[in-house]
């Protein structure tokens, strides 16, 4: 059964994101989960705590719940996250760490993630014992011009132990604009597919931001909605797949950042 769930995820391949993905659009410099999920640190120093829930393909037994916290010190960024996917006897628990540095114009980060099956009580030390699935990756971004952000993220440069549920190759992206933005992403090919290309755009009408993204192979789309009130931020995202159905993500974050954030 567990293999079936994993196979479902592998077949899906619809989202480059995994355990710690929030519901934000791609390429934003203010994505709170960017460091943990894609090794892309945020441009501005911020203190952030977030929780998210993902229901994969409308399957009640296949949900991911994640809690993340991130902080910064000068140009340094760090993040820690814990997530659980699936039922206790079938799912897995993931512990994520992210570390990086960034300025207003460039940033780079490292991420690591360890996974253990949930068929035994979770202990922190079990995440680092033999049998755990471990992956590490790196990412970098910079501003190619004012308002134009280019990034490269390789979340799984190195893997060990149990294979990760999703293979996540190198992703390249360009985004123009911050809140009113458009972006293009390119995901490198994996064994068995020819990669993925996506095109998205977002529009902001304070305090709301709505965005949509189209992807190929197979043709499908995502759309999301964000609302920010004071330090609270709510994100919702729906990914539609022509065969597997819909994936729904909801995230709630508390973000404290300087007002001078671009």
């Amino acid at each position: 059964m567990k293999r079936g769930l994993w196979a479902l995820l592998l077949v899906a391949r619809a989202s480059a994101a995994q355990d710690f993905a929030g519901a934000s659009p791609a390429g934003s410099t203010r994505v709170p989960d960017g460091l943990l999920d894609r090794a892309l640190p945020s441009a501005s120093p911020a203190l952030c705590a977030a929780v998210s829930q993902t229901r994969w393909w409308g399957l009640p037994g296949l949900e991911t719940r994640a809690a993340t916290a991130s902080g910064s010190f000068h140009t340094w960024r760090a993040a820690l996250g814990l997530s659980q996917t699936g039922e206790p006897e079938l799912g897995w628990t993931a512990l994520g760490l992210g570390f990086g540095a960034s300025t207003a114009r460039a940033g780079a980060g490292l991420r690591a993630c360890a996974r253990r099956d949930r068929d035994a009580p979770f202990r922190l030390v079990r995440a680092f014992t033999p049998g755990a699935g471990v992956e590490a990756g790196a990412g970098a971004w910079l501003l190619a011009a004012d308002g134009v952000r280019v990034w490269a993220s390789a979340p799984q440069v190195w893997t060990s132990g149990a294979a990760p549920p999703l293979s996540r190759p190198l992703e390249l992206g360009v985004r123009a604009g911050e809140r009113n933005a458009a972006w293009v992403r390119l995901v490198a090919p994996r064994a068995g597919d020819d990669g993925e290309r996506s095109l998205g755009m977002s529009l902001a009408v304070a305090p709301l931001q709505v965005w949509a993204e189209a992807r190929d192979a197979p043709l499908r789309g995502s759309m999301g909605l964000s609302a920010a009130i004071a330090s609270l931020r709510v994100d919702a995202r729906v990914d539609a797949h022509p065969v597997l159905g819909e994936t729904v993500r909801v995230a709630l974050a508390w973000v404290r950042e300087p007002r001078s954030t671009p």
């Binding site: 114009r105 460039a106 780079a108 790196a138 970098a140 971004w141 910079l142 190619a144 011009a145 280019v150 490269a152 390789a154 440069v157 190195w158 893997t159 190759p169 190198l170 390249l172 390119l186 490198a188 090919p189 994996r190 064994a191 068995g192 020819d194 990669g195």
Partner: protein, 497 residues
């Protein structure tokens, strides 16, 4: 009809665009399967000495130690390597009797290279690893060579046979004679700044001739190359680099403000019914002080390497690529995507590769570089991923689907520079599944006498001379020709054996 179409395409490219087509480095025709290493040309200034010691592991328990000494001064220059798996050996040059005496690795070139020092590929005008001033230090043979103002003489082991040669020059003209394997070959060449021609022949009547013309049409630089002869002709010293008997190639380049447009086209025929064509267009635009964006498209037909007489005709390959570089000297990022397909507009993909490279300035003058490449090639297809080291360019043979990551940290330590390298590979490569490969090298460059320092390798140069502009390029290369012998993961040129 196809020939007409190819000719029209080539003519169109030459008419409407223009050259310095940025050729990607490729393994030479004599290279077998597996990785191939190109040695960077000597970059020492006069009166400089460089010493390097290193150790490396290829993922196994074995550790290989290596040493390198290079010096230049008083008209003499030398590079000696020991323990280096791919580039061991060396070369020494010193003034002697009014000329220069060289010993060790030799890579001479005469005229157009038909007899000695050719490129092998019909679309390459001049081999990058042959002759004086070449970008890479070639290894066509081992022996002794003497060169004076009007004459040169050499003898050594080339292509598993003893070969001797002599050449006499008078103005732009030159006459050469090669002897070995109980036969001789003659060479008559004429070289000026913008024109070059060579005729080679042997006693059995086999011959080849080639001419190259370079000129400017307005602000467009153009070059034309024509070759003819008999397919049976093979150079005594480098038979694998004979290339096609008939070839026509042209290139054009034009500067348009901060943009350079280049075009290239080549037609060739190995023998009756086995012809090929290649045409490409490239645009390279500067973006500000440090950034650039380049993109290109290419069309290929027929075999690129000499096929066996019974080989089936090769199919069409169309590809396109784009590359962006940006950032500041403190943090730089470069991205590249390349796609090849069997149908027009690169549809029905057979090779796809995505490469990202980031490098940052580290404390104390250090530099950290991370390169990650992901590729997927259809069964029967392969590609080479360049990997630039401090003193070499390694072309990593890749097939199937996989990824390769290389991290290099360069730090000034103990009056020298330490380079720490770590490579990870997964799938589609000979190194896949192994433990991480690592390398450590400490090198120091010293001046032997007071004077200006070497200008090599500014750490802030985005497209410097250390091969950085080649690091991302993916070699457009199909399978090696039939009959080529595999020589393990690291290929050793013939002279190494």
């Amino acid at each position: 009809m196809n020939a007409l179409r190819r000719a029209w395409l080539t003519a169109w490219l030459l008419t409407w665009t223009c050259v310095a087509f940025a050729q990607s480095p490729e393994p030479p025709p004599e290279a077998g399967e597996g990785d191939y290493t190109l040695e960077q040309a000597d970059s020492l200034a006069d009166a400089e000495l460089e010493v390097a010691i290193g150790a490396a592991s290829r993922g196994g328990p074995d550790i290989r130690r290596s040493q390198r000494v290079s010096f230049r001064g008083g008209g003499a220059r030398a590079t000696l390597r020991d323990g280096d798996e791919a580039l061991s050996g060396g070369r020494v040059e010193a003034p002697f009797a009014g000329g220069t005496l060289a010993a060790g690795r030799l890579a001479p070139r005469w005229g157009r290279g038909l007899a000695l020092g050719g490129a092998g590929e019909p679309w390459v005008f001049t081999a990058e690893d042959r002759g004086a001033g070449a970008r890479y230090r070639g290894r066509s043979g081992t022996g002794l060579a003497f060169e004076a103002r009007g004459a040169s003489l050499f003898g050594g082991r080339f292509a598993r046979r003893d070969v001797f040669g002599t050449r006499v020059r008078a103005g732009p003209g030159a006459l050469g004679l090669l002897a070995g394997g109980r036969t001789v070959q003659g060479s008559v060449s004429h070289d000026t700044e913008d024109r070059s021609a060579e005729l080679v022949f042997d006693p059995r009547g086999r011959w080849r001739a080639e001419a190259v013309l370079t000129d400017a049409i307005g602000e467009t630089r153009v070059a034309l190359r024509v070759r003819g002869g008999l397919a049976a002709f093979r150079s005594l010293a480098e038979p694998a680099r004979a290339g096609p008997a008939h070839a026509l190639a042209a290139s054009a380049t034009r500067e348009l403000g901060s943009t350079t447009a280049s075009a290239f086209g080549a037609l060739w025929a190995w023998r009756a019914g086995q012809s090929g064509a290649r045409a490409a267009l490239e645009v390279d635009a500067r973006l500000g002080q440090h950034g650039s964006f380049a993109c290109g498209a290419e069309d290929q037909h027929g075999p690129r390497r000499e096929p066996s007489p019974r080989a089936r005709p090769s199919g069409t390959r169309q590809g396109w690529w784009c590359e962006w570089r940006g950032g500041s000297p403190g943090a730089r990022l470069a991205l590249r995507h390349e796609l090849w397909g069997t149908r027009s507009l690169a549809r029905d993909a057979v090779r796809r590769a995505v490469v990202a490279r980031a490098d940052w300035a580290a404390p104390y003058g250090g530099r950290l570089t991370l390169t990650h490449a992901v590729w997927r090639a259809r069964s029967g297809e392969s590609l080479y991923l360049p990997e630039a080291w401090s003193d070499r360019l390694v072309l990593r043979a890749s097939s199937g689907a996989g990824s390769r990551t290389r991290c290099e940290l360069r730090l000034p330590v103990a009056t020298g520079t330490v380079r720490l390298g770590l490579s990870l590979a997964s799938g589609g490569t000979r190194a896949a599944g192994r433990r991480p490969a690592w390398s450590v090298e400490w090198s120091r460059r010293s001046r032997l006498a007071p004077g200006p320092a070497s200008s090599r390798g500014s750490v802030h140069a985005l497209r410097g001379t250390d091969g950085e502009d080649q690091q991302l390029r993916i070699v457009r290369h199909a399978r090696t020709r039939q009959g080529a012998r595999g020589q393990g993961p690291e290929h050793h040129p013939p002279g190494d054996r």
